[in-house]
Every structure is written in C-alpha cells, then in structure tokens.
Symmetry: C2
Subunit: 371 residues, 2 copies
C-alpha cells in the first residue's frame, strides 16, 4: 500500500525480496506508528530473528517472510552437491520454523516452497525455483487479500461508519490486508465512509497500526476506547463491523480473534448491526470441532498494567506503568465468537454464512475434505 | 478505609476537616496509585482549587469537600457583623460552586450547610453550626455507603468472582464507596471472593484507583483489559457485576455511568450474570424523562491517544502518546444503560428493580414526589 515519507508517496509491501542483495525487506513494525523504516535481513538467520522478535507479525506476513527466508537461505548456498544442498535447506527450514514455534503460517509457506523446489534437478534449478515459489506465495497472499476486498467492498455504502478491531490490515499480510481490504477497495471505488478504530488494549494495535495504515491511505478515521463502541452503536453511529480472524473453525463457523472481538459481536447483534469477519483461507482450521477447545494464550501481565508510547518528557519511546504497583492482571490474548453473532465471513472465494463454511469446504481449499 | 504506609495501617477518610488548623484534608488523588499523600488546604480558596484541579473527585467526595470548604470559609471570618458575615459566606459559596460549575453535589452539600446556618443568631453560632452541618454531611455520606454495603454484601457469596468497572470506591466518597461497599462489607463478614477490575480506559480509574483501594483493603483482585470481560463471562469466570452510577433516572431506571458500563451490562445479560448498580440517593435524577436526553460529555482526545503512568526510563510520571501521531479520537465520557439490563439498584434504602425507583420515590428522598 502507499506510504508517504517526507511528502513523497511510494508503494510498499510489508514483506518483499531484493534478489540483488539476497535480502528480505521488511517494514520494521515495532517502530510504527512513530517511525517508518525498512530493514533488510542479510541472511536467513537474520530473517529468523526478525520473525522471532516481531519485526514482522501477522499470519500472511510471517508466512511470506519464512518463504522468502527459505529462498534466501537456498540462494546463499555455494556449490553443486545436491546432498549438501538438501542438508543446508533443512537447516534453513528448521531455523525459520523455530523462530515462532506455535505459528502455522511459516511452516505452510515453507512447505509450499519445498514442494516446488523438488522439481529442480540441479542446485541452480532448485535455487531459482525456490525464489519463484516464494514470490508466488507472496503474490498469492496479496491477491487473496485483493479478492477479499472485491467481495467486501460491496458491503460498504457511501456515508457509512465502519468499526474495526485490532489490526487485520496490510501490515499483517503482504499487502492490502483482510479486514481493511474492503475499506481500501471501497475507497478505490470512490466511496466515502468513516472508520472507527478500537484502540484494542492491551497492545493497542488499533490505535497504532490500523490508524497508521488508514492515515497513510487517507481513509477518514478516528480512534475510540474499546469501552466506547457500545455507546456509539446505541446512538446509531456505527453501521457495519469488519474484523479479522486468527483462526476460524471450518466445522462450526466459530472465529478466534483478538481479545474484545467477541464483545463487539455481542454488541453488534444487540443493535442489529452487520458483523463481518474477513479471512484468508489459510486461517481456516478444518479439524477442530469446538471453539472451546482453542487454547487461549495468556500473555504478559505487563501489557495490561501499562502502555508503550512516546513520552512527553523525553520524546523517546517508553513504557509507563499505569496500574497500581502491587496489583496483578489477567491477559487473555484472544476470544472466540460464535457463529450466530457473525453475519458473514468474507473470503477470497466469496462471502459465506459462518455455518456454511463446511458445506463449501472444497471451494475453500479444505484439506479435510472427505474426512 | 485502611491505608498502609511504611508498614503501618491507618484509617483515612477521603475528605476530613482539621478544626485546629481550619483546614480541609484531602487524599491527593492525582498521585494515586503511585504515591499516597494528604494535602491540607489552608483556606476556602485553596479548597476550591483542589476541587477544580481534581485533587478530589467523585460525587460524595466533592460534596463533602465543598461542605467543609464552606465551613472553613465561615470560620475564617473575623468580626461580629452579621451582614458582613453573610456577604463573606456568599463569596465563599460562589467560589466553591465555580470550581466545578456543572457538578450538582457541591451545590447540594453547601445548601444543606447554609440551611443549618440559618438557625444561628450570632456569627459565632453560625460558624459552629456550619462546621457541625459539614461534619453531618460527611458522616451521612459515609453512613449511606455503609448501608449500600449492608444490603449489597448479601449478593456476594463465598468463592464468587465479581467484576467492577471504573472507580465507584471510597475515593469517590467520604468513605466505603458505592460499588465497593458490598465488597468491603462481604470481606468484613469473612467471605472470600475475587474481584476483576476493568482497567477502564481511557482514564484507567479501574487499574489505578480501584486496584489501589482493593490492594489496601487486601481484597483479592486482578486488573483486566476492558476487552477481556466478555471472554471471562463466556468461560464462566464472572458471577456478579457491581458498578456505580453518575446519574440514575428515577423515572425510567436508566443509569449513566463511565463509558463501557453499557457494554458490560449487555455482556452480563447475554450470560445471565446478575448486574447491579450501587448508588447513593444523591445521584438519582427525578426530573429527566429519557436517558437519551442526558448530555454525554466528550472529553479530550489525548486521553484516548495515550496514557499516564510512571515511565520505565525516568521513573517519573509521564504521558506517553500511544496512537498514530496524526490520528484523532472520539472520547465520550459516559454511556447510558437501560433498565432491562440491570438486575437491581443497590441504595442505602434497600435494593430495587430499576423500574421500581419511581414507585418508591418517597422512600428514596425524591424532591419530585407528587409532581
């Protein structure tokens, strides 16, 4: 998407590859929204560290980073010996996998690259196939988001006020994003609308990343406290809700997403406001049978007890402890929204009722078809 | 309530009067939870500044502060001339009233003191009546909160997990508090329970003031992001909700309280969790006919865009800008919860269904009786 730096607007992807220097180029997301910087990793080990340390985050974005990282590792190999090359690639694969051990996207992305590499007969062929496959993976991620935008844009009418939660934007993917895709597509179609970004405590990805994205694309928006959405719905100031999903159960239509998503869905249902979830196909889990079985990660208490930002005293990045010094916190990272609260799931293959995902599993690329 | 300083536990009221030095003693609430300090205002002008600058906040607490401030001003008068004394008292009254022009509590409190002063025949008599009336006002505020506790404690059973929002604690009153009163009474009765404090963005009074109060009284508690309550309710981890109210409509049972209260009520109703509102009688508005007519104050954007706390870099109080630098915010301070979402209103005169307040208006001290 577009980023304006010193008055000059350029197009960036969250993740891209520079073949000349054999480096993966990433938007350094930990500095946003206060600083925009591209980092280039010089080898696959640096790429793994960037995944581990959350320079890059978001399902699609870390998938593409791992795919590029695998190609980067393969391309750095010197020699023609196929066995040595294979051993080297295994090391690269494991290093990138270990960077975020519970994430499924890097593994799926690297498996896709490996499958293509199989077809190469020489080291050189395998190298160039690896890079082509990584590029394909990244392009497909961006293309899928564009398709989400194409379907979802129809939901946004002129004058609407749209609520979103957390960041399911282009920073979480290679480009375009999931929940933001309909907004960018509606904007491109000339529609005028306004977005309310939930700040999304405790990590404030709405106030930081989503607000930054929307500001860069010149989409009209305002940040609200997570507490305020109910009030605005009650006063008729929200017409549509679009959020993303970290894991969607293909069998039940339940959606796991950032903590607070469930609350917004309950409020939207009470006020008869359409509540949509935008997802790439890779987040559909076709195996799990109950949302209650999804493990909910409890994150660090410090996220709830304070906040990160730029201090007014030093003009530097600082963490402030907000809460009572001796009090502790609970910090579940995600919650589960049941299908009856979801108007529709926006996918690259169309919009579906959450309970109809299973019926359309062939079209949605289920691995579980026939099981 | 109790406060432990350097290992020594003492009893404090939020507001008290020191007759020897003719000063109003206030807990400096702007420093909490990071520092506990009592400030003593030397004259009524300093008392007015303390109200204006929110050294003291909360309906009952600013009412008592104004009552004491009026007595403090009266006591400082030198001479026996009744006319000059009356003129002086008018100045004191106006100064204290102007400190928080939209608040009704200081005015009601000072009117009560003035009514008692009328009975005095000399300046000396009027002075001592003023102080006695101010003390009565403060004692009555504390007593009413104790009565809320007496009725509300029955709702808290052993092993319960109780959610509260914002700070309707003793810091908002002279002592005991409204939403916290049932908790303190249940604790005194030997019951074991756990409190979840919503952090209550954007001003975080739950994470700061309520958590501080509960920690001082040794009530088991944890802070949660406002986004997390729905998840905990869904998992059966919340048994009861008790919140306060800034204004309760006696005719409809609607409750205006800190932004986010409505959301918690909607969630509680979905999960069939009892949702109670604890109120002193002074917050009942017997005149307004529709909650929609309650003006909702929009506060400064900076509250939503950042946070106050102790910086990890300087160990000093600082504001951090969290949000994207060029993005704006909406910041409604309150919301309105309809009566169908409220299980009961806990008052010093008993627990009532919200729609029954009007029926019991005589008992609840309505000025509008017979209108």
């Amino acid at each position: 998407m577009n980023v304006t730096i010193h008055g000059r607007t350029q197009h960036f992807r969250t993740v891209s590859f520079d073949a000349k220097s054999n480096s993966v180029r990433l938007i350094e997301q930990r500095l946003l929204p206060h600083e925009f910087k591209i980092v280039a990793t010089r080898d696959f080990k640096e790429t793994a560290v960037a995944i581990r340390d959350m320079v890059v985050r978001g399902a699609g974005a870390i998938g593409a980073t791992a795919a590029y990282g695998l190609a980067q590792g393969a391309l750095a190999f010197r020699g023609e010996n196929l066995k040595k090359f294979a051993a080297h690639v295994r090391t690269v694969y494991q290093t990138l996998k270990d960077a975020r051990p519970t994430a499924v996207d890097p593994v799926n992305a690297m498996n896709a690259v490996c499958a293509v590499m199989q077809k190469g007969k020489t080291v050189e062929e395998k190298k160039s196939l690896a890079l082509a496959a990584a590029e394909d993976f990244a392009n497909e991620d961006a293309h899928h988001c564009e398709e989400i935008g194409r379907y979802g844009a129809k939901l946004i009418r002129n004058g609407m006020k749209v609520l979103t939660h957390c960041n399911a934007g282009w920073l979480a993917f290679v480009d375009v994003g999931s929940a933001t895709a309909p907004m960018y597509a509606a904007q491109a179609a000339g529609k005028k609308f306004h977005v309310f970004c939930d700040e999304t405590r405790p990590r404030s990805q709405g106030a930081t990343l989503t607000a930054w994205e929307l500001a860069q694309q010149k989409v009209s928006h305002q940040i609200i406290a997570d507490n305020a959405a109910g009030h605005f719905m009650q006063r008729g100031e929200i017409d549509l809700v679009i959020v993303g999903s970290d894991r969607t159960l293909g069998r039940t239509g339940e959606v796991t997403n950032k903590i607070g998503t469930y609350t917004k869905a309950v409020l939207a249902a009470r006020h008869k406001i359409p509540f949509y979830v935008a997802i790439p196909l890779s987040t559909i889990d076709w195996n799990l049978k109950r949302g209650f079985d999804i493990p909910i990660e409890e994150r660090s208490e410090s996220e709830v007890l304070g906040a990160w930002g730029i201090a007014n005293t030093t003009h530097k990045r600082a963490y402030v402890r907000v809460a009572n010094p001796v009090s502790g916190a609970r910090n579940p990272g995600f919650d589960v929204t049941p299908p009856e609260l979801i108007t529709g799931i926006i996918t690259p293959a169309g919009i579906f009722k959450p309970r109809d995902l299973w019926k359309h599993r062939a079209r949605l690329g289920s691995n579980a078809v026939g099981k």
